[in-house]
């Protein structure tokens, strides 16, 4: 019942409170520190996007190196040892450091805006996820300086990755790097699930939620459930390497196939994690550029859910040639064929969306259509893989490499590029040049098909995967040369994109908040999107809420414009609006540093280093837990200083009654004035009846 500490206790608490060691960063939005301490989902989204794109360029260079080595028979550009590192890092980079974080960039930026929330459920945890991603990627690549990069393939098959066959630390960097990245993604997915389930604006029932947010939630559940399995696999191979256990050593009763089961139980859901976000983006883009609603929205939602569930039941199709016997392989052949159904349904629904629509072929639309076509091709080769006798021929050949590049590059990457062009004006306030965008698209599309199309043929002609060179008499020379040429065309396309970005940055015109005449709530915010997202949390009455506010239909079913989106764009908030946001924090960054330090210690068995890392982590977490989500106002400032819901397991300090000076906890309403300003801006009479997890209090901080 005693809710507050007596002053003496406060003084003690103040002295021993570690979060006071680092003065809370100011609320400034400028400068490096503001980026290092940001907890704003939009900035975190931009950080994810820029970092992931940088890794895309690195992974692309790795791809060019592979193609240079394989351009001609008996290639001498890379030795076998180096080749193994390059192709491993290419795969690991593209999967874990490009597509997943690019998707995360869009999850982070868009989901709160699409659902009408001010931020995600746990903003500091969100920042922590990003820093772990960056540090995990750097940790992986630091192996270059420490004796060699991971070289066991992105799939790390044991016992090839055991100490016997992979001495040195290459694989150790892979193991620990992936563990760090796994923690980042697990935390991020929990954050997004809670955000989407709990923080939707009033009236936004789940089946009124934009399809991209749905795909985000589904992918997040997939991550939450699949990452623990690879975590176990990584620990087992780590123990084999570090402590001499025998989990994958057949001589001691271990089973290499266990690695494959554990890896692919993760790995198959992982590919749906890679594709569903891009599918969500395409599902947003096609309706806008067809001026028609998404065909069969509920079916699109349920097929996404079906893909996720069924995705846990097909993993053995990566193991058809392992020798598991006809019963197992037949069963998984059936399930794999079945999963083509919800996927195919989506293709038809995208076609149905465009059919009869008023199509505008802007760059985002081109990439979205490109996705549909390329992903269909990739999906068709996937269907052939589902049939065991066919797969026995195809597996471990370039045919498989063709399949997954068609779905991952032709699918996910094209979808992501579409998303970049589409949401660029919302994120950066300027539209990328459409002419350059079209050049980017067509050059990339041609280059992509030149690079990966021939792989189907090479695979059927027997060219195995994962080889660093091939002899001259196999009949593979021509298509390999064509493919290498194609890869440089892709590179040219990417350069066009970079040129477009630079040009837009320097000369691009600012555009309004809804330049595409779009359908969803994120387009109602002014450009640039204010930190607090919405002045008033919107009330939602239908799917495609913005569209229905702008248009209605006459008796003939024709669109009739009733309002301009400019009418829904709110004015900028002032201090009088008392919109309350969580404050920036150093602790996610500090705590994140602990993990790679722990891992370096474990790689080199310098356990003292690991202990230091653990202390850094614990100190960072503890200080974070004790720090209020929102900095209480300085004395003399008006307004309540109460923070939003605390983060997981971290109790907030109770009110320091009447103590406006340097409270150790959160001060509540110490303004003592007649100011009835209350959480969530209710004083403005916004229509938010139930809470939307509105992160409540902080004064617009005048100091900085």
């Amino acid at each position: 019942m005693a809710l507050t500490a007596a002053p003496a206790d406060t003084a003690v608490a103040r002295r021993t409170d570690p979060s006071r060691l680092l003065k809370r960063p100011s609320e400034s939005r400028q400068g490096l520190v503001s980026w290092l301490t940001t907890i704003d989902h939009k900035r975190i989204g931009v950080l994810y996007g820029v970092t992931a794109f940088t890794f895309f360029l690195i992974g692309g260079i790795e791809a060019l190196l592979i193609r240079l080595q394989l351009a001609a028979p008996n290639g001498k550009i890379l030795t076998a040892q180096i080749y193994n590192q390059v192709y491993t890092m290419h795969g690991t980079t593209m999967v874990f450091l490009v597509i997943m974080p690019m998707s995360a960039a869009f999850f982070n930026y868009l989901v709160p805006l699409q659902i009408g929330a001010r931020d995600v459920a746990f903003p500091r945890l969100n920042a922590f996820s990003y820093w772990l991603f960056l540090l995990g990627g750097l940790f992986l690549y630091s192996s270059f300086l420490f004796g060699g990069m991971p070289n066991g393939g992105w799939f790390g098959y044991a016992p090839n990755t055991s100490m016997t066959y992979s001495p040195g630390h290459n694989i150790d960097f892979w193991i620990f790097g992936l563990l760090i990245l796994g923690i980042s993604s697990t935390i991020g997915s929990a954050n997004l699930i809670v955000t989407i389930l709990n923080l939707r604006a009033p009236g936004m029932r789940l089946l009124r939620m934009p399809i991209f947010s749905w795909m985000t939630m589904i992918a997040s559940f997939l991550l939450l459930f699949s990452l623990p399995i690879i975590t176990v696999a990584l620990f087992l191979i780590m123990f084999d390497r570090q402590w001499g256990t025998h989990f994958f050593d057949p001589l001691a009763g271990g089973d290499p196939v266990l690695w494959q089961h554990l890896f692919w139980l993760f790995g198959h859901p992982e590919v749906y994690i890679l594709i569903l976000p891009a599918m969500g983006m395409v599902s947003e883009i096609l309706p806008v550029f067809s001026r028609k609603p998404l065909f069969g929205y509920p079916v699109m939602v349920f097929s996404g859910i079906a893909i996720a569930f069924m995705g846990f039941g097909v993993w053995v199709h990566h193991m058809f040639a392992v020798g598991l016997g006809p019963v197992a392989t037949s069963a998984f052949s059936v399930t794999t064929t079945l999963i083509a159904v919800p996927t195919g349904v989506k293709i038809f629904n995208w076609l149905g969306t465009m059919w009869g629509g008023s199509l505008r072929f802007k760059t985002p639309m081109l990439f979205a259509i490109g996705f549909v076509v390329m992903f269909t091709i990739g999906g068709l080769s996937g269907v052939t893989h589902a049939l065991v006798p066919a797969d026995r021929q195809q597996t471990d050949t370039y045919y498989v490499v063709a399949h997954f590049h068609y779905v991952l590059f032709g699918g996910a990457m094209l979808g992501i590029f579409g998303g970049i062009y589409y949401w660029y004006p919302k994120i950066f306030g300027k539209m990328l040049d459409d002419r350059l965008g079209k050049w980017h698209f067509w050059v990339t599309l041609v280059g992509f098909n030149l690079t990966f199309g021939p792989f189907h043929l090479l695979g059927l002609q027997g060219m195995p995967r994962r080889i660093y060179t091939y002899p001259a008499h196999m009949g593979w020379n021509v298509w390999n040369a064509v493919s290498t040429f194609g890869s440089f065309v892709i590179a040219a396309g990417t350069l066009i994109f970079l040129w477009n970005v630079r040009r837009t940055d320097q000369h691009g015109e600012a555009v309004g908040p809804d330049p595409w005449d779009a359908r969803t709530l994120e387009w109602t915010t002014p450009n640039p999107t204010p930190e607090y997202n919405f002045l008033h949390v919107p009330t939602v009455h239908s799917l495609d809420e913005l569209w229905h506010r702008k248009y209605t239909e006459d008796d003939n079913g024709r669109l009739v414009k009733v309002a301009d989106s400019a009418q829904f764009v709110e004015r900028r908030a002032t201090a009088d609006d008392h919109i309350h946001l969580p404050s920036p924090s150093y602790w996610p960054l500090v705590a994140a540093f602990g993990l790679p330090i722990i891992c370096y210690g474990l790689v080199y068995k310098l356990y003292a280093v690991s202990v230091v890392g653990l202390l850094v982590l614990l100190f960072g977490l503890y200080a974070w837990g004790l720090e209020p989500s929102t900095q209480p106002p300085e004395p003399g400032d008006e307004g309540d200083g109460h923070g939003p819901v605390g983060e997981l397991g971290a109790p907030e300090a109770p009110a320091e009654l009447g103590d406006a000076a340097e409270p150790a906890g959160i001060g509540v309403g110490a303004s003592g004035g007649g100011d009835p300003a209350l959480p969530g801006g209710d004083v403005l009479g916004d229509t938010r009846a139930d809470g939307i997890g509105d992160t409540t209090i902080s004064v617009e901080d005048p100091d900085d």
């Binding site: 389930l197 271990g254 997981l648 109770p654 009447g658 209350l678």
Partner: protein, 210 residues
């Protein structure tokens, strides 16, 4: 809704215009923190599921050396399992205490939970050292390896739980867990009960099932 409540002033307890710990109703009716803990525990189910599956696959695959089946003492482990189960009871009592505003008893029962958990861990350590002395280490064979990894992961989870409980005791001592903030104890309790349930499964699968 909140604007109907009186403006906060010096004498208004923090809880007045906030629901306990979840400051606003959420679409699911469950607070963000609690929902996040449930999501985390769901993820942990998969983690322990993979570890238990590995153990089940390897339980009869040992090529040499003693296996857990040869060495364990079911009576001893039953006692330590009982201790862990009782710790869950203490956790329930801790939550009940703070929900009725009894901060002192909260600390008593939280400490009891932590103590019982520590007794369990002590029992594990004793058990494992005796196994090691009798020649079964993590690398003796695949069965022992799977055993130690599974029970070791569980033990780490219990230990982290104990640290969490002691942190809560510390915070309560500093007056930072009033009745209005009882949900944080409930959330810690969810974690603790989960760890206990996992042990019930491990005990059954590893020790009891022949």
């Amino acid at each position: 809704m909140a604007h109907l409540l009186p403006a906060p002033g010096p004498e208004t307890p923090m809880g007045a215009h906030h629901q306990p710990d979840s400051h606003h109703a959420t679409a699911t009716g469950v607070s963000n923190e609690k929902l996040a803990m449930w999501g985390f525990l769901a993820s942990e189910c998969l983690l322990f599921g993979a570890l238990i599956s590995t153990y089940l696959l390897y339980r009869h695959k040992a090529v040499s050396g003693p296996t857990p089946r040869d060495l364990y003492d079911i009576r001893f482990t039953s006692v330590s399992s009982f201790v862990l189960l009782m710790s869950s009871l203490a956790m329930v009592l801790a939550l009940a205490a703070i929900q009725r505003g009894d901060e002192r008893r909260l600390r008593v029962w939280l400490s009891t939970t932590a103590l019982l958990g520590s007794v369990f861990i002590a029992g594990q350590i004793y058990e494992f050292t005796s196994f090691i002395r009798r020649g079964m280490t993590i690398k003796t064979n695949v069965t022992s390896g799977a055993f130690y990894v599974l029970t070791g992961f569980h033990g780490v989870h219990v230990t982290l739980g104990i640290i969490m409980l002691l942190s809560l005791v510390n915070l309560s001592v500093r007056g930072r867990i009033p009745q209005a903030r009882s949900e944080v104890v409930e959330i810690a309790g969810l974690y603790w009960h989960f760890v206990d349930i996992v042990w019930v499964v491990i005990f059954t699968v590893v020790y009891l099932i022949p």
